[in-house]
Amino acid sequence: MATDNIKKGEQQRRMLQEYIFNLEDAQEKAGELAVAHEKLKRSQDFLTAVIGSTTHGICLVKNHTFIWCNNAFTDILGWNQEDMIGRKTSILFHDDEEHTDIDRIIYDNSRKDRTVTFEYDFLHKDGHRVSCMVKGRPQDEHDLSKGYVFSVTDFTDLKNTETALKDSYKDLEGRTNDLLKTNMELSREIKEHKKTEDKLNKYRGHLEELVMKRTTELKQTNKKLQQEISERRQQEEALNKLEEMESSILSAIPHAVIGLKERITIFANDSVEDVFGWEPEELIGKSTRTLYRTDEDYEQLGINLYKVLAKQKVHNLEVPCRRKDGRDIICRLNVSRIGTSLTDKQIVVMYEDITDIKRVENALRESEEKYRNIFENTLEGILQAAPDGRILSANPALVRLYKAASFYELVNEVKDFGKLFVDLMRCEEFKRLLVEQGMVKDFEAQLYCKDKDVCWVSINARSVLDESGKIVFYEGTLQDISEHKKLESQLFQSQKMEAIGTLAGGVAHDINNILMGIQGYASLALFNLNNSHPNYEKLKSIEELVKSGADLTKQLLGFARAAVFDVK
């Protein structure tokens, strides 16, 4: 029983396995079918769209009856779909004969070759002919009873175009023939031309060579010209700059600058107005005679000037001139010859008004004379010395002071003025005062003269400074006060003597009084004494001594009186 159940179970399982596999298979197939169905639907939709939109007419014919056709087919032939479907194909033909012909074409062809193609002018519903191209084939190759599918294309327009094309082709043919004729003629001409061309080419080659050569030459010439032009331009620029500079220079020069040619003014700077009172324009083109006082002056100047300029390039001289307002002035002329020779008498003259300068010069000269005289002739010594003591200048009085024979002897012997001081302390004092105060007044000192003589001098001196305050030199006057000093000492001496004398007198007088007193007392003492007294001799001696003393004082008094007048 159990084994039967087991075996039954086995059997059932085997069957189930088969069922399962079959089911799976069926499911798979169903899936595939759905996919195929979907694809088919899509194809159908696509086909419907294509058939609906095509301009080719498509129809299905079975047993000479229209089973189906598209819109294009009915459009081409003028019918609508409802009328067409179910109708016989004979409606497209004029008569049965035509129909049979076409039939034969289709069925004959369909036996040999599956597809049939032919042209035919079908009958339109309106009665006119429609030229069509037809392509057809059996729906099923193996079963012709299923009918035929035809594709119809209206090529009426095409036909018309074909006819037109044929006509234009004929026309073209005609033209082509003409062209051929013309072509032959042209060929002949071309041949002739070719010959001429060859000749030309030969000459052209030659010409090209010449042209190239010429071009190269021209290029070179052009380059040279360009260079020249740029050089000239540079020169022009330089010239312009020079002219500008010249103009600036001329304007800047405060003196009149006149360019002459044959003694005629060709240019004048602005300063001619300052110097001569004439404006430059007034002078240009005119003779320079206007600038001078007289014809003689003018002529003489010309002769002298050009004689010199013939030999040398520059010359300067002082010449009296006359201004526009008639005032006479003195000018210094700086004349320069233009060029290496005096052709055209081309010169440039610079006129400097030196009238004032001359006046000043004269005044200066006069004053110089005056001061030179003073310098030379004064009795005081005038000295200029460098800070290091070198004598820069000394007047004759100073030379005499030093007792030298000449200025040169003085300068040669005295290398350092300071060393002439006898007392070096005094020299230091002198220098100190000059530096501190810048000057000394009535400075008395002893100086050595030539041959070691000594003289007393009184010095007034000052230090001369430059802009920076440094001492450049000393200058001063030296007065010989040796005599003065001698007199001074003599005076001093006599004064001293007088004083001594007065003193001596006074003393003598006082001593006299004292002596008188002593005499008195001595006399008194002697009055009542005889010579036997022990003090008698002593007192007598005292009297003698007093007398001596009195003589002495007398001498002294005498000396005192004399001392006042006796000055040695």
Partner: protein
């Protein structure tokens, strides 16, 4: 392990032809044997990577086929999946003791069979 060749052994042609069709579509090379002796012959000849082996077979049953193949040096490496309607536990034990690598009880859907084959591929 790459599985390229499969030997399907079943006396039921519906089953073997179905399996052959499905497995061939998936790219496997499928051989079919309808009895035990043919199964052994083809195993030695083809040396498949996997054998789908039914138990109930004419001439030689699947258990014996499996035993012989698993003891022979040339074929013992071949993976054997037993596919049988016999579902008793002792029968299943028998099959596994014979050397089967896997024992499937019918009915089995094709996706499950494929899963088992692919399991051997990943091993």
């Amino acid at each position: 392990m790459e599985v390229k060749k499969i030997l399907v052994v079943d006396d039921e042609t519906t089953i073997s032809s179905y399996l052959q069709k499905k497995l061939t579509k998936l790219g496997y090379t499928v051989h079919v044997a309808n009895d035990g002796e043919d199964a052994i012959e083809q195993s030695f000849a083809v040396l498949p990577d996997i054998i789908l082996l039914d138990v109930k077979l004419p001439k030689l049953d699947g258990i014996e086929v499996c035993r012989r193949l698993k003891t022979d040096g040339r074929t013992k490496h071949i993976s054997i999946i037993m596919l049988s309607a016999k579902a008793q536990s002792f029968e299943i034990r028998q099959g596994l003791e014979a050397g089967a690598d896997k024992y499937l009880c019918k009915p089995v859907s094709f996706p499950d069979i494929l899963k088992e084959i692919q399991a051997f591929e990943t091993k």
